[in-house]
Symmetry: C2
Subunit: 477 residues, 2 copies
């Protein structure tokens, strides 16, 4: 139920008629003008207190990390459904998804020459294991594909180490993740083609305290699947220094990793049903799975709980928008994207009625705005303008920035159906310090910043679900 004030404001928009989108002038009230009071109410109420951090604590401390196929993921899925039911959400359900089931098992990497020393490592998700006695071989260090190519036959029988440092975060260019993650993804395939017996990759992070970072790898069309593991930046640098000094390095890699039969998992769904147009849907969510290290706090506990708490805040305020806000917590983002694919497939009939699909999967740091993406350039342009207008309401939080482009892995499969995709954006300085490592724990999430994220997501979801015109469509109804 909306308040008198809000109804009056919304009514005003209708009376004034088709607004010039994205412009604020006395003649043509913007979306922001129409929703200023609503936004302030949501923001104030959320920042004054919400259950988000408590939920995050239950997920991170109470359950911990949750890789596809693990009992912890099942627990997390049921916990999320139960929590949304307890909040009074509607149509709470778990939609079954079959997911890959990779298990790490015991693993270790030991330098045996020039001296015996343990190396900080994490096997890469999807990797095969080693024989029980491990793989012992000389290491050859390369910086990139060209250096591997230049080795020719010299990689045969060796363990290839890709030592390509991720650049430090740059406020202009962002993180260097995109430029270096390819070695994690493709390194084993490339090394295998050269006859290598295993592949090591420098962890994809610019900041380390001897902290290995795992993540997905793919064999693609590799004829021979060789084991692949990430090593800490410190260990990668040390091996590279030894090689530069002409000191041969030999290591023994032991990995019990294996891929079991696919496991049953699920996407978790809960709704704040719309008051007048319940079949039109604004999706908000994150992914409920994580890697099998740390607590999956920033990746992606915050994304999940942000969405869960956004509709909780709205329901407690009795601010029920015209359209439905649907929380979707996708499963298996990390190593398969099975949840995202299945959601797009099973809900194909509904996608034309998906007003927007918003994902938060960049952590729970200080919110800065949204990205937006759409296969239809015209609608993308209109949506971006509308969002810039809407985000002006988040100025007190500093989350006013709107950019176009990639907006999330889990919403991606809906792009071809014309759905407008949005990515919840946060300050990116520290994300890759913790990402996929033992250090992705709740203490890294600032409670105040997390509440700001909840406020931003609740506000934006509410407006998109309530404003007369659909996002990406000019004018008002």
């Amino acid at each position: 139920m909306r308040t008198i004030t809000q109804l009056a404001v919304v009514g005003l928009v209708a009376v004034v008629g088709p607004a010039v989108v994205g412009q604020s002038s006395p003649e043509a009230p913007s979306i922001a003008d129409a929703y200023r009071n609503a936004a302030e109410r949501i923001i104030q109420a959320t920042l004054a207190g919400n259950d988000g951090y408590t939920k995050l604590e239950e997920l991170c401390d109470g359950i911990g990390h949750r890789l596809s196929g693990s009992p912890q993921l099942d627990q997390a899925i049921h916990w999320a459904a139960d929590a949304m039911r307890a909040d009074g959400q509607e149509n709470v359900r778990i939609e079954k998804v079959m997911v890959p089931h990779w298990v790490r098992g015991k693993e270790s990497l030991t330098m045996t020459e020039p001296r015996r020393a343990p190396i900080a490592m994490l096997g890469l998700g999807g990797s095969v294991g080693t024989p029980p006695e491990g793989i012992t071989a000389a290491v050859v260090v390369v910086r990139n594909e060209d250096e591997l190519e230049a080795l020719g036959e010299d990689a045969r029988g060796k363990i290839v180490l890709f030592n390509n440092p991720m650049p430090t975060y740059d406020p202009e260019r962002g993180s260097g993740y995109g430029t270096t993650v390819r070695f994690r993804s493709n390194g084993a395939r490339l090394a295998s083609e050269k006859g290598a017996v295993a592949c090591l990759v420098r962890s994809v992070t610019a900041h380390s305290l001897r902290s290995p970072h795992t993540g997905a790898m793919r064999y693609g069309d590799a004829k021979v699947k060789i084991p692949a593991a990430a090593v800490s930046t410190e260990d990668a640098a040390m091996i590279a220094r030894l090689q530069a000094r002409g000191v041969p390095v030999v290591v023994t890699l032991n990995m019990e990793a294996q891929t079991l039969d696919p496991a049953v998992s699920g996407n978790v769904i809960g709704e704040l049903r719309g008051s007048t147009n319940p079949d039109e849907i604004v999706v908000i969510g994150g992914h409920i799975d994580s890697w099998d290290v740390g607590q999956g706090a920033h990746d992606d506990g915050t994304g999940c709980v942000m969405a869960m708490e956004a509709i909780n805040v709205l329901r407690r305020l009795n601010m029920i928008p015209r359209r439905t806000i649907r929380v979707v917590l996708w499963t298996n983002e990390e190593n398969g994207l099975a949840g995202a694919r299945q959601y797009a497939k099973e809900h194909a009939d509904e996608l034309a009625n998906h007003v927007a699909a918003i994902e938060s999967d960049s952590g729970g740091f200080r919110p800065v705005g949204y990205s937006v993406d759409c296969a239809d350039e015209t609608r993308l342009g209109i949506a971006a303008e509308q969002l810039r207008d809407i985000m002006s309401l988040l100025e007190s939080i500093g989350a006013t920035d709107v950019e176009t482009g990639f907006s999330g892995a889990d919403v991606g499969p809906m792009k071809d159906s014309g759905v407008i995709l949005m990515g919840h954006r946060v300050e990116g300085l520290k994300y890759f310090n913790y990402h996929h490592s033992q250090a992705d724990t709740l203490d890294k999430v600032d409670p105040q910043e997390f509440s700001q994220n909840v406020a931003v997501m609740a506000t934006v979801a509410y407006i998109l679900a309530d404003m007369p015109q659909r996002l990406g469509e000019a004018g008002s109804p």
Copy 2:
């Protein structure tokens, strides 16, 4: 052999007669005036290129960490002696020292309630082990001694966790190490008095990526020795959050730690013998031992190599001061101080001729100056003034700061003999991020900053060993 220029300058000081120490005026040339050319020559030559980082690489990558009693410490001791001989240093020798021999063995800490999860931990040096089956008990979290006291009988049979966060580095107050390290040192004794069965301590660091930090602990007069371990700040915070939510936490601690019979070790000594007063000695050095994690790069590889390279630079420049510069690499600083005590004892007859004893044990970051300490207040005051004068020559490096106070654990035992002690000071922001952890590795040492340290130590040691008057004594000879 000193150069003509230097001799002329030094001569000038002698001609002018007793200089007013620490003041620079046309009538009374300061020490700085007399040594300006020499300092510039040392600084320029050192920064243009030196072997320090290569030596540090050999120590860190080639040998690694080196706890008292370990074969690696023996290796490091012989490596240092060999390196100084290869540099042409005089009187290179290893002075035998018996050291405590604590071994870590296998260890683990596992949370079993409310869920099963490994906890990032490192046993504390000197701790006893657990029975083979480990110790399983409920955890009780306290912030400090008062909270422990308030527990009364509630600590009996429990595992006490001291969760006292170290404050972040403050440019004015420095690190928060001093305010929180007492829980690591004394926690087990205090917990034991209350009937606890084991003691956990939040790692003494303000920055963590799930990185436990070890260090020494003492049982003192404890009637029952209980095992003690450090846990990562993340794990400490998690257990504290669970307790705050009323969720009981149970853990199992397994430690094979034990103290073996004392082992043979040694202080490493090498000299740049003085040209005219070789029996007067300026000691420079660091400690050759480290904890059994990481590479002991900043703690204290840099201190050792800084001193070794300082006299190497001077010898290559043929800048032989009047007095002797003696490099001392003390053994067993970390868990016993046996090397420091033995040096002071065995060299008791010489201490009256120790012009200064300089230690570097704060890491190899950007140098900022020196601390100075002396049991004799009058000599301390004069020495501090003289040092401020001398350090003005290091302005190009920014290492001009002189303060009085604690100047190092290894030089400490010489204080009662009236020796002027000095501590090599560096920028302190990051030291405790790495200290006593797996992350204390060579990549954390910036080659340029390390060269600056060598330049500063070489310059200061040269001047103290060459200036007409002794440090702490007014006037010129």
